[in-house]
Subunit: 212 residues, 2 copies
């Protein structure tokens, strides 16, 4: 009853009026949640506030998310998935250092949208510290990114573009942590600031890989 899927909603046989696409509505609600957290912080993301932001009254959320925790988990997952999709798009067709650069430029908080993403992710981390399920969401994404980075590094090494005398898995960990740190810096910066020198840090790091 709760997890109505797309196909169930569009049953054209029975003469039953059904207007809302549940999956789509869930995304709408997640989007409203996202906006509130980015604008006013996690503590303002109450069920009432989310409902209002999405244009509904208090109780309208329950048919789509049975509890607040369900909603938040879905929302956080969605942000990670969206970023991962963007990464996949941007790195498609690229290899080696070129792909690695595109990957990092897509994750770094270089514009307002990704600074907002950082403002979502940091509250998520706080929740994940004491919630194994949320921590797993993070760890899966990170593991996935580590694999991608290592693949790009291996390609770059084959081509002679990476000569660093340091193991690739260590380099990948360094880079991933740099990206996480950049998100913290961006999330804590005063409203409106978008340049933190992160692009230069990335180029500098790639230069280190080539020369050493």
């Amino acid at each position: 009853m709760d997890n109505k899927s797309l196909s169930e909603n569009f049953r054209g046989v029975a003469a039953v009026p059904k207007i809302v696409d549940h999956d789509e509505r869930r995304l709408e609600l997640v989007d409203a949640t996202w906006r509130i957290i980015a604008r006013q912080g996690l503590e303002s993301a109450t069920m009432r506030e989310i409902a209002t932001e999405a244009g509904f009254a208090n109780g309208a959320l329950k048919p789509y998310f049975p509890t607040k925790d369900t909603l938040l988990e879905f929302a956080f997952s969605h942000v990670f998935n969206r970023t991962n999709l963007r990464i996949a798009e941007v790195t498609a067709g690229r290899t080696g250092l070129d792909a690695l650069r595109a990957f990092c430029l897509e994750v770094l908080p270089l514009d307002e949208e990704r600074v907002n993403e950082a403002r979502i992710v940091v509250p998520f981390w706080q929740k994940a510290i004491n919630d194994r399920q949320k921590a797993a969401i993070h760890q899966e994404s990170m593991a996935q990114r580590l694999v991608a980075i290592r693949r790009f590094l291996a390609e770059a090494r084959d081509r002679g573009n990476v000569r660093a005398a340091v193991d690739d898995s260590i380099l990948a960990g360094q880079l991933l942590n740099m990206l996480l740190g950049a998100q913290i810096e961006a999330a804590l910066a005063p409203e409106g600031q978008t340049d933190f020198g992160h692009a230069a840090q990335l180029e500098g790091y790639l230069a280190l890989l080539e020369r050493a």
Copy 2:
């Protein structure tokens, strides 16, 4: 009346009984807060819980911290100060890469105490996103650390131990972000895990600096 300082408390002249050292009590309360956040997370750090953890009843905190926000801000500042003091101790008498290594090893979450510190810092970041005053605490500490890192790098360069063709201020930013990222990884890891390969990442990074 609220901000009684050490000196005011120890007035030996008037015949007034006064038992509690207010400054010391504040530290006790901050310590209790610290333990709760490390053990159960920020959301469990209610005034009641903190009072109980410190061995008092609900209302006993108010004479020492007028509001919860005052307490939290003091607590977070204290964690930063403690870390900065440890850094100062450990780097005293060292210079160059040697000092840089000691600095990083002191910040990285390499043992349970510093993993707990990470579990304090991440919730702090979440609060700081929408609180300019708390964000300033973070930014000051980071600025201070950046200066220290740059000094060590300059010393190492003078000695020929750093040959990277990348500006020192960029290197410092990279390293600081790596350290922040490491704290996130540690804070989100399952209870008890203390090895994340961060020490190897540090050695790898220092190797990059020497060779490039």
